[in-house]
Symmetry: C2
């Protein structure tokens, strides 16, 4: 999450600039919208939950982009803002739609039985509230803590609480820690109780004690041993001294062009945006293939996440964070630092969100755009004469880093010169920890990363929403399975037994569109356009989607998390495009019970063949923490990629020029050290 220090309201001067329809709201627009809503409902005591651009309808955008040539081209689209507000103290939820073109409040309605996303303001309010609560203070005193300034809490979404279930009340739970000094790592000192907070009452309504299991103790003591990674604790004198700088420079400038938030790079063209929820979104991706500009994707984003924990006992069962739908990848985004988060020649984009009062808060350097060398792109040597041709791969990186309480995620979109696309998540930050009594063990649900510190097993699921546009709006999905030839060795059709083949199956409807990973058949999926046949392969042009990071959801299908995070049960779901289906876990994910998620949407069987479709693609990791993940976790990566698959007429990267030491100033390390023997050292 962005720090409080960075929350600077920006200037309120009216702007005259014209917007691209996908440009996010400016600070001024946020204030204007808040004002319009307040004036529209003067008798309601509301706080603003989110104020965000209402993305234009796809059919309008398709025309605006020139991607739909069946209708006259639209050049202006009404600019609208979508507002979610909460009435105080009832915590009733309202939605408003505001036209920024004419300042009109077009819609304002109560949305019953939902709870919108949690906000930064609420995180801070809850932590303050908890520390002041007498029962919390009593709990702390019993643990030996008198000074409440040492006590910290990570407010979490409540999930679905056995007592406080439903959504009529807006609830949170607080995971409790202490610090032994300023900036001490609190995850080394977890406390054994969980306050439950009613945000309407702004009150701690319950405190749940986590009882030791199979222990002679009724309560664990607080582990006081420090486990820190910040420089003042490690001690600069203990830093490694033997790491020499690597300097990455582009003295002739970068290879990308930016206009507003539209990016042109190496035949790729796209528009980016960042909203409070999905964070970075990639819009309207196309590729210049000779004279033809071919559309590929209408919109790609990380639609939802869930991080379910393994321990079946209360309150751990409620730990299954939906980091997109409960906290927001935009709201939690970091201000990035040049030379630290980002190396080389960096282009930053800022982001702007709203606070409770409808005031903007600005996150500078929220998105990092830069290029990286990515090793060799291709190479071949003719061994006969040593004639070699090697070309280096360059990638365009568009990234953000989010902090969701203990965890931090780096989220990286990569575009390559061979037409491939990759998305990578780097999970880092802090393990969520739980305190054990001195004689207690984590059981088969976790590992002790320090005395009394249980790092519980968990999984991370990332569900991408991919709205494809492969050579047109109507696409299909085919499943590709590879199998042994069904004939024993010696059969005339498999004489030597080596035979195998691949089989493509087009998925017809939302029932078939529910796909699981299959290691046994090296399964992958293709987004194809059945209306365009590749002249060589004789099949539809396509785009292959691959992840090496599928993992099953280990929760029961009918578990609370299984219901709420139905999206994580399958590697892929395919649905017909529906403008209201943007978030795999539902728009109102917080305190949800699973009645508005992708699993629910596919209950009615609908056709998905040769239609405007959307993919919900999930990858993730099963994370069994290691001692080495403490006190801060080295990045753990997962992701997926998409590649042209019989789409272009050849390797689209063969026109990438080779480079050499004259161009990139590569040097012999041995010469730099004037070690003459180095270049003829024999093995």
């Amino acid at each position: 999450m962005s720090s409080l220090k960075e929350i600077n309201p920006i200037s309120t001067n009216t702007e005259n600039s014209r917007f691209h329809p996908l440009d996010q709201l400016t600070g001024d627009e946020i204030m204007t919208v808040a004002e319009i809503v307040r004036k529209g409902v003067p008798n309601l005591n509301i706080v603003f939950n989110t104020i965000t651009l209402k993305e234009p309808k796809k059919e309008l955008m398709m025309s605006y982009l020139g991607w739909d040539t069946t209708k006259p081209r639209i050049t202006k689209i009404e600019r609208e803002a979508l507002v979610v507000a909460l009435e105080k103290p009832s915590m009733k939820c309202y939605e408003a739609l505001v036209s920024l073109d004419n300042g009109q409040l077009k819609r304002f309605e109560h949305i019953p039985d939902v709870q919108p996303i949690l906000t930064m303001d609420e995180m801070f309010e809850v932590e303050e509230l908890v520390a002041k609560d007498p029962r919390v203070q009593a709990e702390c005193r019993e643990l030996g803590i008198e000074d409440m300034s040492c006590v910290f809490s990570d407010p979490w979404a409540i999930a679905r609480h056995v007592t406080y279930k439903g959504r009529s009340k807006r609830m949170m739970q607080a995971l409790m820690y202490m610090r032994t000094c300023e900036d001490d790592n609190q995850y080394a000192h977890p406390l054994d109780f969980v306050p439950i907070i009613d945000l309407g009452l702004m009150k701690v309504v319950d405190i749940e004690r986590i009882k030791p299991r199979d222990s002679k103790f009724t309560r664990p003591t607080i582990p006081l041993e420090k486990h820190n990674f910040l420089p003042e604790f490690v001690g600069e004198e203990n830093f490694r001294k033997d790491i020499k700088p690597i300097i990455v420079q582009q003295p002739e400038g970068v290879s990308f062009k930016v206009k507003g938030t539209e990016i042109d790079w190496q035949k790729w063209n796209m528009k980016i945006s960042m909203n409070y929820r999905e964070g970075l979104v990639i819009h309207n991706v196309s590729y210049q293939d000779g004279a033809e500009k071919r559309p590929l994707f209408y919109r790609i984003s990380l639609s939802e996440m869930v991080v379910p924990y393994a321990d079946p006992f209360t309150p751990h069962n409620r730990k299954h964070a939906f980091d997109v739908g409960e906290y927001g990848l935009g709201l939690c985004t970091n201000t990035l630092t040049l030379g630290c988060d980002c190396l080389g020649s960096i282009y930053y984009f800022d982001a702007t969100f709203n606070d409770h009062n409808g005031k903007p808060f600005h996150v500078p350097n929220a998105i990092c755009l830069h290029e990286e060398d990515a090793g060799i792109l291709f190479k071949h040597t003719d061994y006969r004469n040593g004639r070699a041709h090697a070309v280096r791969s360059r990638r365009l990186v568009i990234s953000q880093i989010v902090t969701v309480a203990n965890y931090d995620y780096g989220l990286y979109y990569y575009f390559y010169q061979d037409g491939s696309f990759q998305y990578e998540v780097k999970a880092t930050g802090e393990l969520n920890t739980h305190v054990l009594a001195e004689d207690e063990t984590p059981g088969p649900y976790g590992v002790m990363v320090a005395p009394q510190i249980n790092a519980q097993y968990h999984q991370h699921f990332f569900t991408m929403r991919i709205d494809p546009m492969v050579d047109g709006a109507n696409n299909s999905i085919c499943k590709v399975d590879t199998q042994r030839v069904p004939h024993a060795t010696g059969h005339p059709n498999n004489m030597y037994g080596n035979g195998f083949y691949s089989e493509s199956t087009i998925l017809k409807d939302t029932a078939e569109g529910q796909q699981t990973a299959n290691y046994e058949t090296a399964r992958f999926w293709k987004i194809i356009n059945e209306n365009r046949i590749h002249p060589y392969s004789k099949g539809p042009v396509g785009w292959k989607i691959v992840s090496n990071h599928h993992t099953p959801l280990f929760a029961q299908d009918d578990s609370v998390v299984g219901q709420r995070a139905g999206f994580a049960k399958k590697a892929l779901w395919v649905t017909p495009y529906n403008e209201n289906q943007i978030f795999a876990g539902g728009f109102y994910c917080n305190q949800s019970d699973g009645d508005d998620n992708v699993e629910h949407w596919v209950k009615d069987v609908q056709s998905i063949q040769n239609k405007d479709i959307v993919l919900w693609y999930t990858f993730g990791v099963t994370h069994l923490p290691r001692v080495e993940d403490f006190p801060v976790m080295p990045v753990e990566m997962c992701g997926f990629s998409m590649k042209p698959c019989n789409f272009f007429m050849a390797n689209p990267g063969i026109d990438v020029p080779p480079t050499n030491k004259g161009i990139n100033h590569s040097k012999l390390a041995s010469k730099e050290k004037e070690n003459k023997a180095a270049c003829c050292t024999k093995l």
Copy 2:
């Protein structure tokens, strides 16, 4: 493979330098060894197949390294060379052992019924022979080729031929192509017949015609359309003009230290070597953990590969190249180019092998050693106050690139500052192609990447030999499976249904040591030392081995390739250490029938628990080619990694200092372009 141009005999002056026991033979030593063997068997007409260092016995090395403290330390180990030679024209195989310390021929014996590795000399001889053969010329004439200088062949190992089976004869098969001009891509013009060559007779003994299937033609015509990627064909005027240089520099020098072929970097210490067979080998890896230098791995190498093709019909069934055992990753290694293969500050090592005459050939720049920035190593932000700490990851890269006829593989060993290790294969180069008649299709076994050009489906398996030494010679392997708690939602032990747990099983013997990948349980394996218990986790210290690139062998178990490449049937085999078991497919892999491979070795059940053990770990890809893989393939990556898993007392990277723009000169791209608006562009 290294080019002929690079085969320069090196000086024959006697060297007085002292060797590390694992230093490969010098050119002088190779000549000396050849001379000793020739003098020892003056009446035999032999050619030298391979002359290579006989690696010292492990027990001696363990003492030499100080890793075995139970015996007095050995400081000098006898230097020996192992020679494989072939008698002409019988092609009988001999092994010789030569002491370099006293010039003695210690052993010379006939090895019956084997055929050693194919050599570069044989590749060239066979191609020349084939072009001169009258029956080949007649085939070509019938296809319309009069000028035999246009005809090229890729000589392949014969595999196991239905007629020429067994190993009494030394055989090859030649895959035929033509070129329409110099340096034309021959894989765009495959021919439809396969000469079979007897290397003893040095004669084409048969020609197999590949008949079109379901076609009205009896023979395909040769596709003449050019498909090229070399600059003179693409045309420099057609190169992308919009890619600006990226310059990577280390003005203060590199962070590694090299002494001979021993490398010190960031607490890692290792020795490297390159032999004719496995190419790059990593020896004696240890890690400085505080005051303790902890051994980790005795030896790591790519022990064998196999690339089986899908099409079950002759002669395609014989396409299952063992690139290590049939061609040799050392013999096929490229001379690397600064600024092209390798970017930044590069340290090169050369390699030296032997030719048929026992003369050395030298490959300059065979191994590239350098450092790379690898993104963030870890980051955490306290969202309360924005206090962030991010550290960049540096990796040490040790790599080679090999060319095995059409395919090229980049082979990269990576070491990281968080104690993790990674091995990555980048497959690139040219698809093996097969010509189709104008009306023919590849069936379900391939894809047409251009008219009449069938790129057949295939798999790539890479089997690593990992000789672990995790805190001592005696290690065990445990399998880790994660599963749902076996209780329905609502059961007292799984009230909310989220429960899952992980289970570790120590593998006791070579039967249990045969392991398949299991996506359903997110299975991975750990190398553990049961003699050292981690004080926090309370379990044995360990090292986790993970690949996201397991794929099943689709050939039948009893197929020819299934027998020969038994190693590819499992993700992991574990065997007790045996000094004669270095190559998963057998020492004499060429023309082998599977009687000396890892599958064979484990037939007798032997204990592997708390013993000196070896892992045979296989990863790979099922490669269904795309049109975009032609005429040269963008790199396709696969690999595996090993990480400390409850081995250290904390994240071993917390003492890595942060960097910043002052140190690494990172810059705003927008400032470079003097675009003042850029740093406050709003989304």
